[in-house]
């Protein structure tokens, strides 16, 4: 995977390049907005990581320019601007995700993977991973053809995990996509729902469908590799 990083802070850039590089991602880095815009317009990138405050051209204008020029490369803002409206502003300017600095590398990696996967996925009405099947129209989940008694929020949780099967999704990604929550709850909302979903997916406790990645998040295990 090849991504473009537009970030003016050298230390942050080095941290990201090294960190994502370790996951096999090829990160090309530029420090100013104008060059970033030029490269993003011609380069073959799978994703863009943009700071908002940049010399030359700010991240918001950069992306607006790209989008109006028809460049659809998924873009993630990585910024310290965490005002109440900043996020909405960023998404309205054509951004696909918004991550606040300071951040964990694992979080950035997980979001980047989800972003690239989302942009590649065609419209689906049915998800299938191993023996779990999810009918997105009828809102029903089946294991080996047998319907699972899932509550609406558990279905949404399962859907998000299955769409990103094989990749780690973080707690904050789940809060945003499943519950539309943009703050950090002080109780174990994600954990409680996760344990119920797990119990319903494998009542006997046998097979592990959702694995906890310590300090990072959760991953829906793709069976062929798990077994």
């Amino acid at each position: 995977m090849k991504v473009l990083l537009v970030e003016d802070d050298a230390e942050t850039a080095a941290y990201i390049c090294a960190g994502l590089g370790a996951h096999g991602i090829d990160v090309q880095h530029v420090a100013d907005g104008t060059r970033g815009r030029a490269l993003a317009a011609v380069g073959q990138y799978e994703a863009l990581i943009l700071d908002r405050r940049l010399p030359g051209l700010d991240g918001l204008s950069l992306l607006q320019g790209l989008r109006s020029a028809g460049v659809r490369t998924p873009a993630l803002y990585l910024t310290a601007m965490d005002g109440l409206d900043d996020r909405i502003e960023g998404l309205e300017a054509g951004g696909d995700d918004y991550l606040i600095k300071p951040f964990f590398l694992g979080e950035l990696h997980a979001r980047l993977r989800a972003l690239v996967r989302r942009s590649a996925a065609e419209v689906q009405t049915r998800l299938r991973v191993g023996d779990i099947e999810l009918d997105l129209i009828a809102r029903r989940a089946m294991r080996a053809g047998e319907e699972l008694p899932l509550l609406p929020q558990e279905l949404k949780l399962l859907e998000y995990l299955m769409r990103n099967a094989g990749s780690t999704v973080t707690r904050s990604m789940l809060l945003e996509h499943v519950w539309d929550i943009h703050f950090d709850p002080q109780t174990s909302v994600v954990e409680s729902h996760m344990s119920r979903l797990r119990a319903k997916l494998s009542p006997g406790g046998g097979r592990e469908y959702i694995r906890t990645v310590r300090g990072a998040g959760y991953v829906f295990v793709i069976q062929s590799t798990a077994r």
Partner: protein, 463 residues
């Protein structure tokens, strides 16, 4: 107040314009009076001439020239200084009257007498060719005209003086008040944030301007205060965890290293960092909400839907603590609507519910009750936990305040402060009361009826 400034100012400019206008209208009035008075006197003269001519003519008709001369004699004898008569024979000899003989000219004209008076009158011929002139000296008319001109000159002069005086006085008053506004603004600029523009209590434009400026200054003070509060909160409350972080790293450096010590120290340091960052962003968010700029983002929020969503979200959490969580909510057609910021309202209810879940203890019962009371929506969150002592109920909404017994449960003491900020932004009301046992949080929100949603755009901006 310098002269050039006087000239510069709007008041004087306006007064000058008014003076010009006054003078022009007085002039017009004067001219009209002049002309009208002239005409009236002319008509009067004509009447008097016709009457006298008639008298002479009728004397002539009844008894001949001698009687006409007699009539002229009588008329002349009347002590009317300004009247002039001449009855002149065909031979050009004066027969009667108080004018010297002159060429027998017919019609209206002026003649100059030997005494230097100008006489305006009419000459005519009697049937036998005798010439009759009846007229009046113009002194009276000229005098009247001169008087009219004099009085109007006086009036114009007075008007101008008055307008000039009033204009100067008025503009001096305005200038003084504008100077007061400028002075206040300069003082505020120089750091005296308590200064306000003095008000007169009238409903005039200047008072309204002063009131607007004062409101703006109040707003600035609020923002400054909020900024000051945040800075001091950050200074106080980030110092403690930062100190702890430093101590942890320091002791990790000094401690005889076991195999796991560095990893543990790093893990602990990361947790400290997270806690510090959480406090930091919560403080920033509170101050952002308190700045009050978000009222522009208000939309209609369906409280019943929002509460149900939050209930579903927290049900498993409560079950894990062996707690019972229930929601009672009416479902009127069109939903239970309030005007607000959906994201903030979600966070407000989440914080209140989390507060109950975290502090009410295991086995507690937590009820969310939504009611429609008149034009209000009332939401109560009632738990069977230990509650909050009466004397501490106000303090829990303050930033970073934590009850003594809660010091050891996780949390940064900002949850309820955030709730208070959101409540204030929305102009809701929140009260804490004793649920005997437990805590009852009552939120009162103005209800938005479905047909009112169109007027939502007209909600006042700002706080």
């Amino acid at each position: 107040m310098s002269f050039s400034r006087q000239l510069d100012n709007e008041g004087i400019r306006l007064a000058t314009l008014l003076i010009g206008l006054f003078a022009f209208s007085a002039l017009l009035l004067g001219a009209m009076a002049y002309v009208i008075a002239g005409r009236a006197m002319g008509a009067e003269l004509h009447d008097f001439i016709s009457a006298d001519q008639g008298a002479v003519l009728s004397g002539f008709r009844s008894e001949g020239l001698s009687e006409a001369a007699e009539v002229v004699q009588q008329l002349t004898a009347v002590p009317r200084l300004s009247a002039r008569y001449l009855l002149q024979g065909r031979d050009g000899r004066a027969l009667a009257g108080n004018l010297a003989s002159m060429p027998a000219r017919v019609g209206t004209f002026e003649v100059r007498t030997s005494g230097g008076h100008v006489v305006l009158g009419e000459g005519d011929l009697l049937p036998d060719g005798t010439y009759l002139f009846v007229g009046e000296t113009t002194d009276r008319l000229a005098g009247a005209r001169a008087r009219i001109l004099r009085s109007f000159a006086l009036i114009i002069g007075l008007t101008m003086a008055l307008a000039l005086g009033a204009g100067a006085l008025l503009s001096a008053g305005y200038l003084r008040r504008i100077d007061a506004i400028i002075r206040t603004c300069q003082e505020v600029e120089a750091g005296a944030f308590g200064e306000r523009v003095p008000m007169r209590g009238s409903q005039g434009q200047l008072d309204r301007l002063s009131a607007t400026i004062n409101t703006m200054l109040d707003r600035i003070s609020t923002l400054m205060e909020s900024l000051r509060q945040v800075s001091s909160d950050i200074a106080h409350d980030l110092r403690t965890p930062l100190t702890r972080l430093r101590q942890r790293l320091e002791s990790a450096r000094q401690a005889p290293l076991s195999a796991t010590a560095p990893a543990e120290a790093i893990q602990g340091a990361l947790q400290d960092c997270d806690a510090i960052l959480a406090v930091f962003s919560a403080l920033l968010r509170i101050s952002q909400i308190e700045a009050g700029t978000r009222r522009a983002n208000f939309t209609e929020v369906q409280i019943d839907v929002l509460l149900r969503r939050i209930l579903e979200m927290y049900l498993p959490v409560a079950e894990d603590g062996a707690q019972q969580l229930q929601l009672h909510c009416p479902e009127p057609e069109g939903g239970v609507l309030v005007a607000g910021d959906r994201m903030l309202l979600t966070q407000m209810f989440a914080n209140l519910l989390e507060n109950a879940i975290r502090h009410a203890g295991r086995q507690a019962q937590i009820r969310i009750e939504c009611r429609l009371v008149d034009a209000q929506v009332q939401v109560q969150i009632i738990d069977t936990g230990p509650g909050i002592p009466l004397e501490e109920r106000d303090k829990v909404f303050h930033r970073l305040y934590r009850l003594e017994r809660s010091r050891n449960t996780p949390g940064n003491g900002l949850g309820l402060a955030l709730v208070a900020a959101i409540v204030k932004l929305h102009r809701f009301q929140i009260t804490l009361s004793d649920a005997e046992p437990g805590l009852c949080v009552t939120l009162t929100m103005p209800r938005l009826l479905p047909q009112e949603t169109a007027s939502l755009a007209a909600l006042p901006a700002g706080v």
